[in-house]
Symmetry: C2
Subunit: 353 residues, 2 copies
């Protein structure tokens, strides 16, 4: 697979983003949803900000307070035996492990704009910021599906009651309409198809189950984008393979003559995240036609291997022009990058299922 | 709280149910959905059947096979160190604990009929039996909501990819229409309200989350009963209390002048299941008005304390006539019972929230 990484990579790093919160540092500007609007390429960044702790023995956890509209900072002492702080992203109360009690950063969504798709400037203000009880730990990993002149933006909404997927919409990337949580907890990695198929909307989603089952990709249908049902299990893990630990949808499904092409992420049990592809039937996306035996992209560049959480390439959006797929992707839970691949080469690389 | 247990309790026990599968024993006839149809009270039993193992050193796990329409029996040796068999309901592969690998019984739905609500006769055949890939470990804990002349029957669909909630409907308790999975995994204890409120259908549901959060009650809305959205967290645990370990909806919400009355189950961390009640706003069921400080019913009778999984009262349906609530309930994951309570007494016992 020929992969042309942009020479400007990483396109945006935390150093390019001014903190929105006083006393915070930006530790991530990554996993951006992608859209084209008004002659610009927009990366809707997930910006993660971490409160700077005045005491090296204390970890701070930011929590949005619905009542006063600001952030509360929870203090956890590093020598408090009740907590496991080994994963820098989360604070785990040992008796509830592996569930987390708090996150160490707060994520929200902020636009980076570009005329050429290579050089970006970050907006001063967030576009979507936590505003409700289901978002008090932050909002993460947006995707954007354009249908007509409306952009549907959906993201993981994180709170003490679980992680679900919530939806907002906009026509101008200024005024936002909230539509509530469309997939209840635990769910992530929703991808809404860009048009109706046989009279229905479809979405990929990724439940995280506790009773049994694994982090795998499901399909749901809708007639209004707000209410979803007829859930079906679509794509499973391949134990021992590059996508043997967890998988989830990545970019908005791409319509091709051969079927719906989904660029998805797969991770090993050791949390090495690669990108692969799966082809779904054009008229019935519950039918899997073909799938990547090997990743179409692996973490290889330095910026993909090192960072806040290394060995990660994680795409939430791509732009297709002719045979060129410009796949934007988060690297190491830290920054944004882009690489161009050939649509035809991706399709030709897939193995029939 | 005055509770009048039926003198016929338990109304149905496993001994009253002839196994549907050759070589199986019925170990549970419990957690029945309740309906009135054609002059009869119907208990739609969850019947659990367990394959009788020919070898005391082997546990058998029944799995529905979609291809040939019969059951496969998986054999697990009791001395296989990879498995934890301490919970008689499940087979846990230790490396995946607490998630289960198989169930030790297969559940399906079967009608018990009564003219007087006290004395029941069990149908020879199942009404709803596993038939699809999302049901191969069985279907469990049905509830029935009547809307007009249609009975909506929904239940936990259990398979290796998780536990979700699926919907079928019938007008005659003979012909069944399948509507697919309405709440993706992990989800249980769905209760569809019996009429639209402000132009929308509503349902309680109970996600089981892994990332964070606890087994608590959520609310969703719909315009067609098939697709659901606008998920909201409704009711939480009360740590240390009778409902401090897990909660879930029980009977179909009862419309009263004071609000929607939901009889729900709550369990301690030690798995002692009681029934309590919560009152929701008549025009906006996302508003909790009042709630039981103490259970309205606890496991006290012998048949409620002893059985396959003891110390459990678990209602999936009730009939209301005037001030009398006939609450049917499963006992000890084994049998069915019924008790009458006063609607007024339940309402008067609730504490404002």
């Amino acid at each position: 697979m020929k992969i042309e990484r942009y020479e400007q990579n990483p396109l945006i790093t935390p150093a390019d983003v001014k903190p929105y919160h006083d006393g915070f540092e930006v530790i991530g500007a990554f996993n951006a949803g992608i859209a084209e609007y008004n002659g610009e390429v927009l990366m809707l960044l997930r910006v993660a900000e971490r409160p700077v702790s005045p005491d090296p023995n204390i970890v701070l956890a930011p929590v949005y307070n619905v009542d006063h509209g600001g952030l509360d900072l929870i203090e956890i002492r590093k020598d408090d035996d009740r907590y496991d702080l080994s994963d820098p992203r989360v604070i785990v109360r040992k008796e509830n492990a592996p569930a987390f009690e708090y996150l160490t950063s707060l994520s929200y969504l902020r636009i980076a704009r570009s005329r050429d798709g290579h050089t970006f400037q970050v907006d001063e203000q967030p576009l979507v910021y936590p505003s409700q009880s289901l978002e008090i730990f932050g909002i993460e990993d947006p995707r954007i599906t354009q249908i007509g002149d409306t952009y549907y933006i959906y993201f993981s909404a994180v709170s003490p009651v679980g992680i679900g997927e919530s939806l907002v919409s906009t026509k101008d990337f200024r005024n936002i309409t909230h539509h509530g949580m469309i997939f209840g907890p635990d769910n992530k990695d929703v991808l809404i198809f860009p048009e109706k198929i046989g009279g229905k909307y479809y979405a990929l989603h990724r439940p995280t189950t506790k009773s049994c089952g694994r982090p795998e990709i499901w399909l749901a249908e809708s007639d209004n984008l707000l209410y979803w049902g007829n859930h079906k299990h679509l794509l499973g893990l391949r134990p021992g393979n590059w996508d043997g630990g967890r998988i989830g949808g990545g970019a908005v499904p791409i319509k091709t003559e051969r079927g719906w092409l989904e660029l998805y992420h797969g991770a090993t049990k050791d949390h090495r995240y690669c990108m692969g592809a799966v082809l779904l039937d054009l008229n019935d996306p519950s039918k899997v036609i073909a799938r990547s035996d090997r990743p179409i992209m692996e973490p290889e560049a330095d910026y993909e291997r090192q960072g806040f959480f290394g060995e990660v390439v994680f795409s939430c959006g791509a732009l297709v022009r002719g045979d060129t797929v410009a796949m934007y992707y988060g690297v190491s839970d830290t920054s944004m990058a882009c690489a161009e691949l050939s649509l035809q080469e991706i399709l030709d690389s897939l193995q029939p299922v």
